[in-house]
Symmetry: C2
Subunit: 344 residues, 2 copies
């Protein structure tokens, strides 16, 4: 029997099909009433992420509703610091909080605390999801990229300008490299485990790559991403890897060319025509609808979807948002988007 066609994998292998595959960042999430109901049954967000029954159900919810081409495992980009005992918890309306890491702190403590076992429930989630996914849907695993995860660890949560992390990195790049290397190592182990559990594609989320000068970006973003990719490849892992350096402007070209990633995900400010001129013709791109347009729907959604598809024509392209879907988005707009991309 022939293998079922997985459009996302085809596109990631460089094939240009009749239409782009489509999935949505944060497609399992609060905009879905069934998600909110499920989530209400868990004591904390971390426990929710690490409960394979709940997390697999959350992962599958959007797949039951919409004809999406990919499913991304429900988890959080901060599970690695959780597995380093950094006191990860979520404060309603404020987001994640962690015990801040300070300059001069003994970083070897992180390595000692780190244990993949603390988060291997994500593997079980992947196995459960994989067993239930329709044949044409590709399963994606992911991790936060080292710089982004480090900023949360240093700031003790989300922050406007990642000030302490930037100061630390400029002041003491050797020590900061050590921190990033610890995260690189953990990311490789964590992502390798996800592939073993059934992930067919990996994605590296560099959510905080805006506002950084080129030498900084080269050293603290491109460098660690390259190490993660090489580490995975040296373990014999061949699955496609999508990198998402959000907000990095024209530095995306260097990221795409130098990290070894298979595909680059673009935020909504990235300009299709520019990439067509500045990226190798066979580089796969993913993106990049403004989540505000998905929230608004209607004519704006129609024209922007069309513009984006045309903008990346002639290049392998995965349709997605430029950032995660927001909780206020009506699920019907997602249906409309998927239909638009599929030419229905």
């Amino acid at each position: 029997m022939a293998e079922p066609v997985k459009l996302l994998l085809q596109t990631l292998s460089g094939h240009i099909g009749p239409r782009p595959p489509v999935w949505i960042m944060r497609q399992a999430g609060r905009y879905l009433p069934e998600y909110r109901k499920l989530r209400a049954g868990a004591p904390s967000f971390v426990e929710f992420c690490l409960n394979p029954a709940m997390a697999s159900e959350a992962t599958l919810q959007p797949i039951r509703r919409f004809d999406l081409d990919a499913s991304i495992v429900f988890a959080d980009i901060l599970l690695i610091p959780h597995a380093m005992d950094r006191g990860l918890h979520f404060v309603s309306g404020e987001g994640p909080k962690l015990r801040p890491l300070v300059q001069g702190e003994d970083l070897s403590g992180l390595e000692k605390s780190w244990s993949l076992q603390k988060i291997d429930a994500v593997g079980e989630t992947l196995e459960r999801v994989r067993a239930e996914l329709p044949d044409h849907v590709t399963l994606i695993g992911f991790a936060g990229a080292p710089w982004t995860v480090a900023t949360y660890m240093v700031e003790g949560g989300g922050s406007k300008d990642k000030w302490q992390s930037r100061l630390w990195a400029w002041q003491n790049p050797q020590e900061f490299d050590q921190l990033l290397d610890i995260l690189v190592h953990a990311s490789i182990e964590y992502m390798a485990m996800q592939v073993e559990a059934g992930a067919e594609v990996l994605k590296l989320f560099e959510s905080w790559s805006e506002g950084l000068p080129e030498p900084f970006f080269e050293h603290f973003i491109i460098g660690p991403a390259k190490k993660v990719v090489e580490g995975l490849r040296s373990r014999g892992i061949t699955v496609p890897i999508i990198g998402f350096p959000r907000g990095c402007g024209m530095l995306a070209a260097r990221y795409a060319k130098e990290t070894g990633i298979t595909a680059i995900a673009l935020d909504q400010s990235q300009v299709g025509s520019w990439f067509n001129e500045n990226l190798p013709k066979d580089m796969v791109v993913q993106g990049n609808l403004d989540p505000a347009v998905l929230r608004v729907g209607g004519e704006a959604l129609r024209s922007e979807t069309d513009r984006i598809i045309k903008g990346f024509a002639g290049r392998p392209h995965i349709f997605n948002l430029g950032h995660g879907i927001t909780p206020d988005t009506p699920p019907e707009h997602v249906k409309m988007l998927v239909d638009l991309v599929q030419g229905k």
Copy 2:
């Protein structure tokens, strides 16, 4: 007697001198102890901005300490909504707050409330500063750009992702255009008044231009900036105009070419070599040291300053930060930076 040489004006006229002129965004501000002392004597931040004795003193403080090539009038980018009676006030640790503007609200009320007289104290501040500035120091006036000011008015203050403003603009572009046009008109009046009062250069601060798709940026950022520039020119105002579309990535090239500005200010993520390839050779650039590097000082400050100057060599270049100086920066680092740029 010959006119004194003003290096900033020379550079803005396209001349490449022996070194770039240098000034610092937010150079009058909380990092200076004498500023904090002065500010403590004012009942509110708005009253401080609109008190010519205090505001001119704040403007002049950094000029007395450092050999800067420009002085920017001490004011706030939200004085225009203040002059539209939007209830501007500043909450310590939170920043500006205003009465939020909602979709469907009668926008003509803004026009009726608007009166330049409510903020013409800024003109008196400029006159006082101009009278005291050393001959070689250029005086800069400024305003917030329409989109940026609109986001504060709609969100009721600063916000992470300008969500309500983006939704409004996508949902009802005609109405949003009307809002921006009101701000364009006010900005022209306000900036023209500043020139009359002695400003020799104008700067338009588009602080929130990151994360916007190209058609949005074109319509709501480039369009209004062009109208402001044309409006000033049609009044016979010929002073150089610096535009600062912060965080806009490769869209900076379109902004520089299409708005009619004299110079483009770049945030720290903008790459010098890219601009050399993508901007007309005579376009003046300003920037773009990471404020975190100024905070850190030492070798990082030395090497980054050197890299930036070399990166823009062969083009008229004004040295500045990529964003405002932060309150935790030691004033000695500013002295070090000015000396570095001046080759001392």
